[in-house]
């Protein structure tokens, strides 16, 4: 919690998430809405996919910010010397990223409701999907963020590394949300079976590998 609190406090002070990540995500929604056109049918069909694409792109930005907090030599060494277990650092950073993504999804939820004229009929399914997807996105994002942390090209490399990895979340999240929008819970729950192992696998891998990746960076 110490690392998560520190990262969230830094984000709250820098306001990068508020003034850059959230507007960027909303902009994605608006631009895609413009591109699809005014017909409500295609708009409603595309809404879940657009929502999750906006979330995925925002995940990359949020993880880049998380990595940038310790991009200086002083803070990077300071965290390594802090005495906090690397697994704990990973959990803290993932928690901070995850919390920011959850807030972002609330904003985007309102955004798709307004711009795409859709309504979520099975709220619990949408909420559970978002929670599971957020755990997976945050854990995978922070893990790959650590992988790219020591590289000069990390800002451009991270999206290339992490976006393909996050494709299962895009697929399962979109399908589950589609079911939630259509009021068909039974067809959506099957997609949670992809999100659960994804989240668990990256949570475990992250706890185990974050330390060695931090050293390598």
């Amino acid at each position: 919690m110490l690392v998560a609190g520190k990262d969230l406090r830094i984000e709250a002070r820098s306001r990068v998430a508020l003034w850059q990540v959230v507007p960027f995500a909303v902009l994605v929604l608006v631009l895609v809405a413009f591109a699809i056109g005014p017909d409500t049918g295609p708009m409603r069909q595309a809404a879940p996919g657009v929502f999750w694409i906006a979330v995925l792109f925002s995940t990359v930005l949020t993880v880049q910010r998380s990595v940038a907090i310790e991009s200086g030599e002083g803070t990077r060494d300071g965290l390594r010397l802090s005495g906090i277990d690397p697994g704990g650092i990973f959990l803290g950073k993932a928690a901070a990223v995850g919390l920011q993504l959850l807030v972002l999804q609330l904003v985007l939820w309102a955004g798709v409701t307004i711009f795409f004229n859709v309504r979520v009929h099975v709220v619990w399914l949408a909420v559970v999907t978002s929670l599971l997807a957020t755990v997976g996105l945050a854990c995978a994002g922070v893990l790959y963020g650590a992988l790219s942390a020591g590289l000069r090209v990390r800002d451009t490399l991270l999206p290339i590394l992490v976006l393909p990895v996050l494709a299962p979340v895009l697929l399962a999240g979109s399908k589950a949300w589609q079911a939630a929008l259509n009021g068909n819970a039974s067809s959506g729950t099957g997609w949670l079976r992809i999100l659960i192992p994804f989240a668990v696998i990256y949570l475990v891998i992250g706890i185990v590998l974050y330390g060695p990746l931090q050293e390598a960076a």
Binding site: L2, K6, R9, I10, R13, S14, I69, G72, E73, G74, T75, D77, G78, L79, R80, L81, S82, G83, I84, G211, E215
Partner: protein, 248 residues
């Protein structure tokens, strides 16, 4: 009692480059040792190796009883490193930075408050974001974080750099107190006239090795300070009660 630092032919690599090329060094608890040497001699690498930030690939290296050749990370929570770059988060205040460092070790936040006060970081300075502090003030915050954690081994890389005269004097007092309480202190310096009087011993580094040594200001009579030959500069022991050195 086992030495705080015991290196025998220790080799550490920074990438493929041998940052330490066979270092022999022993440092007892309560001892203050100054490392001098030209740029690139390996002083910073020696401190980073002692901190567990560089892996030892050959030789023997024990720091606070931890064998760095098998696990160089285990020693980290017991050492305090004051490096060139202050480990501060710009958006957090001085007090928040120190509290984070203290709470990371599971110590009470009050330890951080006392350290801030000791370094004169009171009033508005406490709550000013670290990013808005001057270089010297940032160094004081980093020093406050270090003393609050009460490490058993102090590793100070050019600790006088950027500090004003009163803080330099305070640094000397803090080093003396730490040594008196049993902490070992290893500091590198390009300002031997400031660092040597604080020390029990001076060692000279060149090419990633310890190439010489002499008593420091705390052990040797001040008028008997040894001359130190560095590759680029010769330091002559000067007269005076502070044991000042000057460039010959």
């Amino acid at each position: 009692m086992a030495p705080a630092v015991q290196f025998r032919a220790a080799v550490a690599l920074a990438g493929r480059f041998p940052a330490l090329a066979g270092v022999d060094l022993s440092l007892e608890a309560g001892e203050v040792v100054v490392v001098v040497g030209a740029n690139g001699a390996g002083k910073t690498s020696l401190l980073r190796t002692c901190a567990g930030l560089l892996a030892v690939t050959a030789g023997e290296a024990l720091v606070l009883g931890v064998d760095l050749t098998t696990d160089h990370t285990a020693v980290r929570r017991h050492v305090g490193l004051l490096g060139h770059a202050a480990p501060l988060y710009d958006e957090l205040s001085a007090a928040e930075n120190v509290r984070f460092a203290v709470r990371a070790l599971g110590l009470p936040a009050a330890a951080g408050d006392a350290a801030l006060e000791r370094l004169g970081l009171v009033g508005r300075l406490r709550t000013t974001p670290a990013g808005r502090l001057s270089a010297g003030q940032r160094r004081r915050v980093a020093l406050a974080a270090l003393i609050a954690r009460r490490p058993a081994l102090w590793l100070l890389d050019e600790p006088h750099a950027g500090l004003d005269a009163p803080t330099r004097a305070l640094l000397g007092v803090l080093i003396g107190e730490a040594a008196a309480e049993g902490a070992a202190v290893l500091l590198s310096s390009h300002e031997p006239e400031l660092a040597v009087p604080l020390s029990d011993r001076v060692v000279v580094m060149r090419g990633g090795r310890i190439t010489g040594g002499s008593p420091g200001g705390r052990r040797a009579p001040v008028r008997a300070l040894p001359d130190v030959d560095l590759p680029a500069v010769k330091l002559r022991a000067g007269p005076g009660t502070m044991g000042a050195w000057h460039v010959a």
